[in-house]
Subunit: 136 residues, 2 copies
């Protein structure tokens, strides 16, 4: 929790109750959640919490490297906690059964600057699987 707060502070962003609550949700559940998923969990805590605030904060937290964001084909953005490597781009594997997220090691693409004559600008990878616990 503390290190995430520090990241916000270092970037000059305010430590608001909403932001702390959102980070707390991810710290405790270690799953990927949609914006609406976060919103409904927040509603347990706050009588009033606007969905636009959730969207705004999730994006802010992604920009800080606190959350990672993936875009599946369901038209929804999914967010999850980055537990390490905030300063390096990296990828995640997500359990399609329980939603758990873990970071993957280095990607072969990470160090490539040129591929087939293309200057690499960015790349995304998303791996979906079934975790050991859910496989049983």
């Amino acid at each position: 929790m503390k290190p995430y707060i520090d990241i916000l502070k270092n970037k000059g962003l305010k430590i608001t109750p909403r932001r702390k609550a959102i980070i707390d949700i991810f710290v405790n559940c270690h799953k990927h959640l949609t914006s609406e998923g976060v919103w409904s969990l927040l509603s347990n805590e706050f009588d009033k919490c606007g969905l636009p605030s959730v969207y705004r904060n999730l994006e802010t937290l992604v920009e800080c490297g606190i959350l990672t964001r993936i875009q599946q084909f369901d038209r929804k953005k999914h967010y999850g906690l980055c537990t390490e490597h905030h300063n390096h781009p990296h990828h995640h594997i997500t359990c399609i059964s329980c939603g758990k997220v873990e970071e993957l090691g280095a990607c072969e693409m990470d160090n490539k600057r040129i591929i087939k004559g293309y200057k690499v600008v960015n790349h995304f990878m998303q791996v979906n699987g079934i975790c050991a616990g859910c496989s049983k």
Copy 2:
């Protein structure tokens, strides 16, 4: 053109003017296009062409392996022609300047069945860059 038509035939799908026109668009432009991009190009050819038909056909062509589909963070699905390897999953690099698409070689993830205890179900990778032509 012909091989794509054959793929449709082999799957028992009808060879309709819309489908031929959509494939033709991709064969001629070799770029990733959004559903609406395809639709507006189709409008040059057909007075009437429903957007729902475009969506349906694009998805059908993806299922056949004729097109590839990527989901960027702009909330739009992007489609491009698969010029080879219809029967194997593979990834693409897209030029963010001109939209050109090329296939990437094998991905290190392709042969992995288990990672960190997860049974790998599927994975997506999208690489964006600037092609040699656009770099000049």
